[in-house]
Protein backbone atom coordinates (compact mmCIF):
# COMPACT_ATOMS: atom_id res chain seq x y z
CA UNK A 1 0.00 0.00 0.00
CA UNK A 2 1.26 3.44 -0.98
CA UNK A 3 1.67 5.82 1.92
CA UNK A 4 -0.18 9.12 1.65
CA UNK A 5 2.63 10.55 3.78
CA UNK A 6 4.91 11.39 0.87
CA UNK A 7 7.84 13.71 1.23
CA UNK A 8 5.98 16.84 0.08
CA UNK A 9 3.20 16.32 2.65
CA UNK A 10 5.63 15.65 5.47
CA UNK A 11 7.83 18.58 4.45
CA UNK A 12 4.93 21.05 4.44
CA UNK A 13 3.47 19.65 7.63
CA UNK A 14 6.74 19.82 9.53
CA UNK A 15 7.82 23.16 8.07
CA UNK A 16 4.66 24.97 6.99
CA UNK A 17 4.99 28.00 4.70
CA UNK A 18 3.31 31.31 5.50
CA UNK A 19 2.18 30.17 8.93
CA UNK A 20 1.11 32.99 11.19
CA UNK A 21 -1.04 36.11 11.01
CA UNK A 22 -1.23 39.37 9.07
CA UNK A 23 -1.99 42.69 10.67
CA UNK A 24 -3.79 44.35 9.01
CA UNK A 25 -5.41 42.05 6.46
CA UNK A 26 -8.03 42.57 3.76
CA UNK A 27 -9.68 39.15 3.81
CA UNK A 28 -9.93 36.50 6.49
CA UNK A 29 -11.96 33.41 7.21
CA UNK A 30 -11.68 30.36 9.42
CA UNK A 31 -13.51 27.09 9.66
CA UNK A 32 -13.27 23.67 11.21
CA UNK A 33 -13.75 20.17 9.94
CA UNK A 34 -16.31 18.78 12.40
CA UNK A 35 -15.23 15.24 11.60
CA UNK A 36 -11.81 15.58 13.20
CA UNK A 37 -11.66 19.10 14.59
CA UNK A 38 -9.12 20.39 12.06
CA UNK A 39 -8.97 24.19 12.13
CA UNK A 40 -7.67 26.54 9.47
CA UNK A 41 -7.67 30.33 9.31
CA UNK A 42 -6.46 32.22 6.25
CA UNK A 43 -5.67 35.92 6.06
CA UNK A 44 -4.92 37.84 2.84
CA UNK A 45 -3.57 41.23 1.95
CA UNK A 46 -4.18 42.51 -1.58
CA UNK A 47 -2.94 45.57 -3.43
CA UNK A 48 -5.10 48.12 -5.25
CA UNK A 49 -5.31 45.95 -8.36
CA UNK A 50 -6.58 42.99 -6.35
CA UNK A 51 -3.40 40.94 -6.41
CA UNK A 52 -2.47 38.96 -3.30
CA UNK A 53 0.67 40.48 -1.81
CA UNK A 54 0.69 38.67 1.53
CA UNK A 55 -0.95 35.54 2.83
CA UNK A 56 -0.86 33.73 6.14
CA UNK A 57 -2.59 30.71 7.57
CA UNK A 58 -2.93 29.38 11.06
CA UNK A 59 -4.57 26.32 12.45
CA UNK A 60 -4.15 22.89 13.81
CA UNK A 61 -5.01 19.50 12.54
CA UNK A 62 -3.73 16.50 10.67
CA UNK A 63 -0.76 16.60 8.35
CA UNK A 64 -3.00 16.57 5.28
CA UNK A 65 -5.04 19.61 6.31
CA UNK A 66 -2.04 21.63 7.44
CA UNK A 67 0.21 20.67 4.52
CA UNK A 68 -2.47 21.49 1.97
CA UNK A 69 -3.05 24.86 3.65
CA UNK A 70 0.67 25.54 3.44
CA UNK A 71 0.76 24.56 -0.25
CA UNK A 72 -2.29 26.65 -0.99
CA UNK A 73 -0.74 29.80 0.46
CA UNK A 74 2.29 29.28 -1.79
CA UNK A 75 0.05 28.83 -4.82
CA UNK A 76 -2.01 31.97 -4.38
CA UNK A 77 0.70 34.46 -3.55
CA UNK A 78 0.78 36.86 -6.52
CA UNK A 79 -2.53 35.67 -7.94
CA UNK A 80 -5.43 38.03 -8.57
CA UNK A 81 -8.48 37.64 -6.34
CA UNK A 82 -10.65 36.91 -9.40
CA UNK A 83 -8.26 34.16 -10.45
CA UNK A 84 -8.47 32.60 -7.00
CA UNK A 85 -12.25 32.78 -7.05
CA UNK A 86 -12.22 30.89 -10.35
CA UNK A 87 -9.62 28.31 -9.25
CA UNK A 88 -10.98 24.75 -9.27
CA UNK A 89 -10.22 22.52 -6.29
CA UNK A 90 -8.45 20.09 -8.62
CA UNK A 91 -5.54 22.51 -8.84
CA UNK A 92 -4.84 22.18 -5.13
CA UNK A 93 -5.42 18.42 -5.18
CA UNK A 94 -2.92 18.09 -8.01
CA UNK A 95 -0.39 19.93 -5.89
CA UNK A 96 -1.18 17.70 -2.90
CA UNK A 97 -0.63 14.85 -5.34
CA UNK A 98 -1.90 11.86 -3.39
CA UNK A 99 -4.88 9.56 -3.66
CA UNK A 100 -7.24 10.47 -0.79
CA UNK A 101 -10.26 8.74 0.70
CA UNK A 102 -13.44 10.83 0.90
CA UNK A 103 -12.79 11.50 4.60
CA UNK A 104 -9.23 12.69 4.02
CA UNK A 105 -10.35 14.72 0.99
CA UNK A 106 -12.24 16.92 3.45
CA UNK A 107 -8.97 17.47 5.33
CA UNK A 108 -7.16 18.40 2.13
CA UNK A 109 -9.89 20.81 1.00
CA UNK A 110 -10.50 22.57 4.32
CA UNK A 111 -8.04 25.35 3.49
CA UNK A 112 -9.43 25.65 -0.03
CA UNK A 113 -12.97 26.12 1.30
CA UNK A 114 -11.75 28.61 3.88
CA UNK A 115 -9.90 30.59 1.21
CA UNK A 116 -12.93 30.77 -1.05
CA UNK A 117 -15.14 31.72 1.84
CA UNK A 118 -12.78 34.51 2.82
CA UNK A 119 -13.09 36.01 -0.66
CA UNK A 120 -16.83 35.64 -0.90
CA UNK A 121 -17.24 36.81 2.67
CA UNK A 122 -19.45 33.89 3.60
CA UNK A 123 -19.62 30.15 3.80
CA UNK A 124 -19.62 28.84 0.27
CA UNK A 125 -20.29 25.19 0.86
CA UNK A 126 -23.17 25.17 -1.60
CA UNK A 127 -21.13 26.58 -4.45
CA UNK A 128 -18.17 24.35 -3.76
CA UNK A 129 -20.21 21.22 -3.69
CA UNK A 130 -22.42 22.06 -6.65
Amino acid sequence: MDSIYRENILEHSKRPQNKGHLDPYDYAFEDTNPLCGDEVRIELRVDDSGTVTDVAFDGQGCAISQASASMLTEMILGMHVDEIKAMPKEELLEEVGIELSPARLKCALLSFNVLKASLYGKAVDEQLHS
Partner: protein, 406 residues
Amino acid sequence: MFDAAAVKRDFPILNQGGAPPLTFLDSAASSQKPQAVIDALVNYYTTINSNVHRGVYKLAVAADHAYDGTREHVARFINATSPDEIVFTRGTTEAINLVAATWGRTNLREGDLVVSTVMEHHSCFVPWQMIALEVGARIEAVRITESGELDQDHYRELLSQNPKVVAFTQVSNVLGTINPVKEMTAQAHAAGAVVCIDAAQSVPHMAVDVQDLDVDFLAFSAHKMLGPMGIGVLYGKRSVLESMPPYQGGGSMIRKVTLEKTTWADIPSRFEAGTPSVGDVVGLGAAIDYLQDLGYADIARHEHELAAAAIIRLSAIPGVTVYGPPADVARAGVVSFVVDGVHPHDVAALLDERGVAVRAGHHCAQPLMKALGVTATTRASFYVYNTIDDVDRLIEGVEYAQRVFA
Protein backbone atom coordinates in the same frame (compact mmCIF):
# COMPACT_ATOMS: atom_id res chain seq x y z
CA MET B 1 -8.68 -20.65 29.96
CA PHE B 2 -9.91 -18.00 27.51
CA ASP B 3 -8.60 -18.84 24.03
CA ALA B 4 -8.79 -15.59 22.03
CA ALA B 5 -7.14 -17.17 19.00
CA ALA B 6 -9.93 -19.76 18.86
CA VAL B 7 -12.54 -17.03 19.33
CA LYS B 8 -11.01 -15.08 16.45
CA ARG B 9 -11.53 -18.07 14.13
CA ASP B 10 -15.29 -17.63 14.63
CA PHE B 11 -15.17 -14.19 12.95
CA PRO B 12 -14.93 -14.50 9.15
CA ILE B 13 -14.07 -10.82 8.61
CA LEU B 14 -10.93 -11.24 10.73
CA ASN B 15 -9.77 -14.25 8.74
CA GLN B 16 -9.77 -12.92 5.18
CA GLY B 17 -5.99 -13.03 4.91
CA GLY B 18 -4.44 -10.19 2.95
CA ALA B 19 -1.22 -8.36 3.56
CA PRO B 20 -0.99 -6.85 6.01
CA PRO B 21 -3.76 -8.82 7.75
CA LEU B 22 -6.46 -6.90 9.62
CA THR B 23 -5.83 -6.03 13.25
CA PHE B 24 -9.19 -4.73 14.38
CA LEU B 25 -8.96 -2.37 17.36
CA ASP B 26 -12.14 -0.38 16.90
CA SER B 27 -14.76 -2.52 18.60
CA ALA B 28 -15.89 0.39 20.78
CA ALA B 29 -17.24 1.90 17.56
CA SER B 30 -18.73 -1.35 16.28
CA SER B 31 -17.78 -4.95 16.91
CA GLN B 32 -17.32 -7.68 14.33
CA LYS B 33 -19.84 -10.54 14.05
CA PRO B 34 -19.22 -14.23 14.69
CA GLN B 35 -20.43 -16.83 12.19
CA ALA B 36 -23.17 -17.80 14.66
CA VAL B 37 -24.75 -14.34 14.39
CA ILE B 38 -24.40 -14.25 10.60
CA ASP B 39 -25.99 -17.72 10.46
CA ALA B 40 -28.87 -16.61 12.68
CA LEU B 41 -29.62 -13.71 10.31
CA VAL B 42 -29.41 -15.92 7.23
CA ASN B 43 -31.53 -18.59 8.91
CA TYR B 44 -34.17 -16.05 9.87
CA TYR B 45 -34.49 -14.76 6.30
CA THR B 46 -34.24 -18.27 4.87
CA THR B 47 -36.82 -19.99 7.05
CA ILE B 48 -38.84 -17.62 9.27
CA ASN B 49 -39.23 -14.17 7.71
CA SER B 50 -42.70 -12.64 8.01
CA ASN B 51 -44.27 -9.74 9.86
CA VAL B 52 -44.94 -10.10 13.57
CA HIS B 53 -48.06 -9.77 15.72
CA ARG B 54 -50.47 -9.91 12.79
CA GLY B 55 -50.44 -13.17 10.90
CA VAL B 56 -52.32 -16.35 11.74
CA TYR B 57 -50.26 -18.57 9.44
CA LYS B 58 -47.43 -20.81 10.60
CA LEU B 59 -44.61 -18.62 9.32
CA ALA B 60 -45.96 -15.57 11.15
CA VAL B 61 -46.30 -17.58 14.33
CA ALA B 62 -42.66 -18.62 13.99
CA ALA B 63 -41.65 -14.96 13.56
CA ASP B 64 -43.68 -14.01 16.65
CA HIS B 65 -42.01 -16.78 18.56
CA ALA B 66 -38.54 -15.65 17.46
CA TYR B 67 -39.24 -11.99 18.25
CA ASP B 68 -40.97 -12.38 21.61
CA GLY B 69 -38.67 -15.24 22.55
CA THR B 70 -35.68 -12.95 22.14
CA ARG B 71 -37.39 -10.32 24.26
CA GLU B 72 -37.60 -12.89 27.06
CA HIS B 73 -33.98 -13.83 26.41
CA VAL B 74 -32.86 -10.18 26.69
CA ALA B 75 -34.88 -9.76 29.90
CA ARG B 76 -33.10 -12.73 31.49
CA PHE B 77 -29.75 -11.50 30.13
CA ILE B 78 -29.91 -8.20 32.05
CA ASN B 79 -32.13 -9.61 34.83
CA ALA B 80 -35.19 -7.47 34.15
CA THR B 81 -38.26 -8.54 36.14
CA SER B 82 -40.30 -9.05 32.97
CA PRO B 83 -39.98 -9.05 29.17
CA ASP B 84 -42.45 -6.14 29.25
CA GLU B 85 -39.57 -3.99 30.46
CA ILE B 86 -37.62 -4.60 27.23
CA VAL B 87 -38.27 -2.20 24.33
CA PHE B 88 -36.51 -2.85 21.02
CA THR B 89 -35.11 0.30 19.41
CA ARG B 90 -32.71 1.05 16.57
CA GLY B 91 -29.91 1.40 19.09
CA THR B 92 -28.71 3.23 22.18
CA THR B 93 -29.20 6.61 20.54
CA GLU B 94 -32.84 5.99 19.72
CA ALA B 95 -33.43 4.48 23.16
CA ILE B 96 -32.16 7.60 24.95
CA ASN B 97 -34.04 9.87 22.56
CA LEU B 98 -37.16 7.87 23.36
CA VAL B 99 -36.72 8.46 27.09
CA ALA B 100 -35.95 12.17 26.66
CA ALA B 101 -38.87 12.69 24.28
CA THR B 102 -41.49 10.79 26.31
CA TRP B 103 -40.48 10.72 29.97
CA GLY B 104 -38.59 13.98 29.58
CA ARG B 105 -41.31 15.93 27.80
CA THR B 106 -43.92 14.69 30.28
CA ASN B 107 -41.94 15.33 33.46
CA LEU B 108 -39.48 18.15 32.88
CA ARG B 109 -40.61 21.70 33.54
CA GLU B 110 -39.07 25.13 33.32
CA GLY B 111 -36.30 25.54 35.86
CA ASP B 112 -35.88 21.80 36.49
CA LEU B 113 -32.38 20.37 36.64
CA VAL B 114 -30.99 17.58 34.45
CA VAL B 115 -27.65 16.15 35.58
CA SER B 116 -25.31 14.54 33.08
CA THR B 117 -21.49 14.38 32.91
CA VAL B 118 -18.68 15.75 30.76
CA MET B 119 -17.63 12.21 29.75
CA GLU B 120 -20.83 11.43 27.86
CA HIS B 121 -21.06 10.25 24.30
CA HIS B 122 -23.17 12.83 22.47
CA SER B 123 -26.00 10.27 22.36
CA CYS B 124 -26.39 10.48 26.15
CA PHE B 125 -26.08 14.25 26.29
CA VAL B 126 -27.62 15.89 23.24
CA PRO B 127 -31.12 14.33 23.60
CA TRP B 128 -31.27 15.70 27.16
CA GLN B 129 -29.86 19.05 26.12
CA MET B 130 -32.52 19.28 23.39
CA ILE B 131 -35.43 18.56 25.71
CA ALA B 132 -33.96 20.82 28.40
CA LEU B 133 -33.80 23.69 25.93
CA GLU B 134 -37.31 22.94 24.75
CA VAL B 135 -38.91 23.08 28.20
CA GLY B 136 -36.55 25.60 29.79
CA ALA B 137 -34.81 23.13 32.10
CA ARG B 138 -31.16 23.45 33.16
CA ILE B 139 -28.55 20.83 32.34
CA GLU B 140 -25.39 20.49 34.42
CA ALA B 141 -22.46 18.16 33.75
CA VAL B 142 -20.46 16.38 36.45
CA ARG B 143 -16.75 17.14 36.07
CA ILE B 144 -14.02 14.52 35.84
CA THR B 145 -10.94 14.06 37.98
CA GLU B 146 -7.34 13.96 36.81
CA SER B 147 -7.49 10.17 36.41
CA GLY B 148 -10.63 10.33 34.30
CA GLU B 149 -13.20 9.40 36.91
CA LEU B 150 -16.38 11.27 37.73
CA ASP B 151 -15.87 13.87 40.45
CA GLN B 152 -18.19 12.41 43.09
CA ASP B 153 -18.04 15.57 45.22
CA HIS B 154 -19.33 17.57 42.30
CA TYR B 155 -21.98 14.92 41.67
CA ARG B 156 -23.27 15.13 45.26
CA GLU B 157 -23.24 18.91 45.04
CA LEU B 158 -25.47 18.74 41.94
CA LEU B 159 -27.72 16.14 43.59
CA SER B 160 -28.25 18.55 46.47
CA GLN B 161 -30.05 20.79 43.94
CA ASN B 162 -32.66 18.03 43.48
CA PRO B 163 -32.41 17.16 39.78
CA LYS B 164 -35.37 15.49 38.07
CA VAL B 165 -33.19 13.11 36.08
CA VAL B 166 -29.59 11.91 36.13
CA ALA B 167 -28.25 10.56 32.80
CA PHE B 168 -24.77 9.13 32.40
CA THR B 169 -22.71 6.35 30.92
CA GLN B 170 -21.70 3.16 32.69
CA VAL B 171 -18.42 2.97 30.78
CA SER B 172 -16.69 5.88 29.01
CA ASN B 173 -16.20 5.26 25.28
CA VAL B 174 -13.04 7.36 25.38
CA LEU B 175 -11.40 6.78 28.77
CA GLY B 176 -12.54 3.25 29.62
CA THR B 177 -13.66 4.46 33.04
CA ILE B 178 -16.24 2.22 34.73
CA ASN B 179 -18.60 4.47 36.68
CA PRO B 180 -20.08 3.30 40.00
CA VAL B 181 -23.64 3.10 38.65
CA LYS B 182 -25.14 1.30 41.63
CA GLU B 183 -23.88 3.80 44.20
CA MET B 184 -24.64 6.83 42.03
CA THR B 185 -28.14 5.51 41.32
CA ALA B 186 -28.89 5.04 45.03
CA GLN B 187 -27.78 8.62 45.68
CA ALA B 188 -29.82 9.94 42.76
CA HIS B 189 -32.92 8.12 43.98
CA ALA B 190 -32.41 9.53 47.46
CA ALA B 191 -32.39 12.97 45.84
CA GLY B 192 -35.63 12.14 44.03
CA ALA B 193 -34.18 11.77 40.51
CA VAL B 194 -34.88 9.20 37.82
CA VAL B 195 -31.74 7.48 36.47
CA CYS B 196 -31.04 6.80 32.78
CA ILE B 197 -27.90 4.82 31.94
CA ASP B 198 -26.03 4.61 28.63
CA ALA B 199 -24.80 1.01 28.68
CA ALA B 200 -23.54 0.90 25.08
CA GLN B 201 -19.95 0.33 26.25
CA SER B 202 -20.72 -1.83 29.28
CA VAL B 203 -23.21 -4.54 28.25
CA PRO B 204 -20.84 -5.88 25.55
CA HIS B 205 -18.06 -6.33 28.12
CA MET B 206 -19.45 -6.98 31.59
CA ALA B 207 -22.44 -8.61 33.24
CA VAL B 208 -25.15 -6.02 33.85
CA ASP B 209 -28.00 -6.69 36.30
CA VAL B 210 -30.63 -3.95 36.12
CA GLN B 211 -32.31 -5.02 39.36
CA ASP B 212 -29.03 -4.95 41.25
CA LEU B 213 -28.17 -1.52 39.80
CA ASP B 214 -31.77 -0.40 40.41
CA VAL B 215 -31.64 2.00 37.43
CA ASP B 216 -34.86 3.30 35.88
CA PHE B 217 -33.63 3.20 32.26
CA LEU B 218 -30.72 1.46 30.61
CA ALA B 219 -29.88 1.49 26.90
CA PHE B 220 -27.54 -0.56 24.73
CA SER B 221 -26.84 -1.46 21.10
CA ALA B 222 -26.53 -4.90 19.50
CA HIS B 223 -23.81 -3.90 17.07
CA LYS B 224 -21.25 -3.22 19.79
CA MET B 225 -21.83 -6.69 21.31
CA LEU B 226 -21.29 -8.93 18.26
CA GLY B 227 -24.86 -8.43 17.01
CA PRO B 228 -26.33 -6.69 13.96
CA MET B 229 -26.39 -2.95 13.36
CA GLY B 230 -29.69 -1.13 13.63
CA ILE B 231 -31.08 -2.85 16.70
CA GLY B 232 -30.84 -1.94 20.34
CA VAL B 233 -32.59 -2.23 23.66
CA LEU B 234 -34.19 0.16 26.07
CA TYR B 235 -34.78 -1.33 29.50
CA GLY B 236 -37.26 0.61 31.60
CA LYS B 237 -38.70 -0.18 35.01
CA ARG B 238 -42.28 -1.30 34.53
CA SER B 239 -43.81 1.44 36.68
CA VAL B 240 -41.87 4.15 34.85
CA LEU B 241 -42.58 2.78 31.37
CA GLU B 242 -46.27 2.47 32.18
CA SER B 243 -46.40 6.15 33.12
CA MET B 244 -45.00 7.25 29.74
CA PRO B 245 -46.83 8.33 26.57
CA PRO B 246 -45.88 6.74 23.23
CA TYR B 247 -42.76 7.79 21.30
CA GLN B 248 -43.96 7.44 17.71
CA GLY B 249 -47.43 6.82 16.33
CA GLY B 250 -48.25 3.99 13.95
CA GLY B 251 -49.05 0.32 13.83
CA SER B 252 -48.50 -1.94 16.85
CA MET B 253 -48.51 0.88 19.41
CA ILE B 254 -52.30 1.31 19.46
CA ARG B 255 -55.14 -0.31 21.34
CA LYS B 256 -58.03 1.29 19.48
CA VAL B 257 -58.11 3.87 16.72
CA THR B 258 -61.13 5.91 15.72
CA LEU B 259 -61.26 9.04 13.62
CA GLU B 260 -61.61 11.02 16.83
CA LYS B 261 -59.13 9.39 19.16
CA THR B 262 -56.53 6.67 19.67
CA THR B 263 -55.72 4.73 22.81
CA TRP B 264 -52.32 3.19 23.43
CA ALA B 265 -51.17 -0.37 23.65
CA ASP B 266 -49.62 -1.71 26.84
CA ILE B 267 -45.84 -1.67 27.31
CA PRO B 268 -43.60 -2.56 25.54
CA SER B 269 -45.63 -2.39 22.29
CA ARG B 270 -46.59 1.21 23.08
CA PHE B 271 -43.01 2.17 22.23
CA GLU B 272 -42.57 -0.03 19.16
CA ALA B 273 -44.52 1.64 16.37
CA GLY B 274 -44.15 0.06 12.96
CA THR B 275 -42.66 -3.20 11.75
CA PRO B 276 -39.70 -4.06 13.94
CA SER B 277 -36.40 -5.40 12.63
CA VAL B 278 -37.19 -8.98 13.59
CA GLY B 279 -34.18 -10.53 11.87
CA ASP B 280 -31.84 -8.19 13.74
CA VAL B 281 -33.56 -9.01 17.03
CA VAL B 282 -32.91 -12.69 16.29
CA GLY B 283 -29.28 -11.79 15.53
CA LEU B 284 -29.05 -10.01 18.89
CA GLY B 285 -30.30 -13.18 20.57
CA ALA B 286 -27.53 -15.17 18.89
CA ALA B 287 -24.96 -12.59 20.01
CA ILE B 288 -26.12 -12.89 23.62
CA ASP B 289 -25.83 -16.69 23.38
CA TYR B 290 -22.31 -16.37 22.03
CA LEU B 291 -21.20 -13.96 24.77
CA GLN B 292 -22.76 -16.06 27.50
CA ASP B 293 -21.01 -19.16 26.17
CA LEU B 294 -17.70 -17.33 26.45
CA GLY B 295 -18.58 -16.11 29.93
CA TYR B 296 -18.42 -12.51 31.09
CA ALA B 297 -15.87 -13.12 33.83
CA ASP B 298 -13.38 -14.47 31.28
CA ILE B 299 -14.25 -11.76 28.75
CA ALA B 300 -13.60 -8.98 31.26
CA ARG B 301 -10.34 -10.57 32.44
CA HIS B 302 -9.09 -11.01 28.87
CA GLU B 303 -9.93 -7.45 27.82
CA HIS B 304 -8.33 -6.00 30.92
CA GLU B 305 -5.16 -7.98 30.23
CA LEU B 306 -4.89 -6.54 26.71
CA ALA B 307 -5.79 -2.99 27.77
CA ALA B 308 -3.30 -3.09 30.65
CA ALA B 309 -0.53 -4.30 28.32
CA ALA B 310 -1.38 -1.56 25.82
CA ILE B 311 -1.48 1.17 28.49
CA ILE B 312 1.83 0.10 30.04
CA ARG B 313 3.62 -0.21 26.70
CA LEU B 314 2.18 2.99 25.19
CA SER B 315 3.03 4.95 28.34
CA ALA B 316 6.61 3.72 28.10
CA ILE B 317 7.06 5.33 24.66
CA PRO B 318 8.53 8.85 25.00
CA GLY B 319 6.07 11.43 23.67
CA VAL B 320 2.96 9.29 24.12
CA THR B 321 0.26 10.32 26.63
CA VAL B 322 -2.43 7.83 27.63
CA TYR B 323 -5.75 9.12 29.02
CA GLY B 324 -8.10 7.50 31.50
CA PRO B 325 -7.66 5.28 34.55
CA PRO B 326 -4.31 3.47 34.94
CA ALA B 327 -3.67 -0.15 33.98
CA ASP B 328 -3.95 -1.59 37.48
CA VAL B 329 -7.54 -0.59 38.26
CA ALA B 330 -10.81 -2.08 37.07
CA ARG B 331 -11.40 -0.41 33.72
CA ALA B 332 -12.72 -1.24 30.28
CA GLY B 333 -10.63 -2.16 27.25
CA VAL B 334 -10.74 1.31 25.69
CA VAL B 335 -7.37 3.05 25.45
CA SER B 336 -7.11 6.66 24.23
CA PHE B 337 -3.76 8.27 23.61
CA VAL B 338 -2.01 11.18 21.93
CA VAL B 339 1.40 11.11 20.24
CA ASP B 340 3.34 14.39 20.50
CA GLY B 341 3.88 15.98 17.10
CA VAL B 342 1.61 13.58 15.22
CA HIS B 343 -2.07 14.41 14.84
CA PRO B 344 -4.38 11.56 15.95
CA HIS B 345 -5.72 11.21 12.41
CA ASP B 346 -2.23 10.78 11.08
CA VAL B 347 -1.47 8.19 13.76
CA ALA B 348 -4.60 6.30 12.71
CA ALA B 349 -3.80 6.59 9.00
CA LEU B 350 -0.25 5.32 9.53
CA LEU B 351 -1.53 2.44 11.67
CA ASP B 352 -3.95 1.64 8.86
CA GLU B 353 -1.02 1.34 6.45
CA ARG B 354 0.03 -1.58 8.64
CA GLY B 355 -3.44 -3.10 8.80
CA VAL B 356 -4.25 -1.80 12.27
CA ALA B 357 -7.75 -0.28 12.47
CA VAL B 358 -8.13 2.29 15.26
CA ARG B 359 -10.34 5.31 15.79
CA ALA B 360 -9.18 8.92 15.73
CA GLY B 361 -11.15 12.05 16.48
CA HIS B 362 -13.41 13.34 19.20
CA HIS B 363 -15.28 10.02 19.57
CA CYS B 364 -18.63 11.85 19.74
CA ALA B 365 -17.51 13.29 23.07
CA GLN B 366 -16.56 16.90 22.35
CA PRO B 367 -17.17 18.20 25.91
CA LEU B 368 -14.79 15.49 27.16
CA MET B 369 -12.12 16.47 24.60
CA LYS B 370 -12.40 20.03 25.91
CA ALA B 371 -12.08 18.84 29.52
CA LEU B 372 -8.98 16.83 28.58
CA GLY B 373 -7.54 19.83 26.73
CA VAL B 374 -7.16 18.03 23.40
CA THR B 375 -8.94 18.35 20.06
CA ALA B 376 -8.82 14.65 19.37
CA THR B 377 -7.24 11.38 20.48
CA THR B 378 -6.37 8.08 18.89
CA ARG B 379 -8.32 5.21 20.44
CA ALA B 380 -7.64 1.49 20.45
CA SER B 381 -10.38 -0.72 21.85
CA PHE B 382 -10.16 -4.42 22.59
CA TYR B 383 -12.70 -7.20 22.45
CA VAL B 384 -13.01 -10.96 22.65
CA TYR B 385 -11.23 -11.69 19.37
CA ASN B 386 -8.14 -9.57 20.05
CA THR B 387 -4.90 -11.21 21.11
CA ILE B 388 -1.67 -9.98 22.65
CA ASP B 389 -0.21 -9.97 19.10
CA ASP B 390 -2.63 -7.15 18.31
CA VAL B 391 -1.09 -5.10 21.13
CA ASP B 392 2.36 -5.74 19.59
CA ARG B 393 1.15 -4.46 16.24
CA LEU B 394 -0.40 -1.38 17.83
CA ILE B 395 2.85 -0.52 19.56
CA GLU B 396 4.93 -1.14 16.42
CA GLY B 397 2.52 1.05 14.46
CA VAL B 398 2.76 3.93 16.92
CA GLU B 399 6.55 3.74 16.80
CA TYR B 400 6.36 3.73 13.00
CA ALA B 401 4.17 6.88 13.09
CA GLN B 402 6.76 8.58 15.27
CA ARG B 403 9.53 7.63 12.83
CA VAL B 404 7.59 9.02 9.84
CA PHE B 405 7.08 12.34 11.59
CA ALA B 406 10.50 12.45 13.26
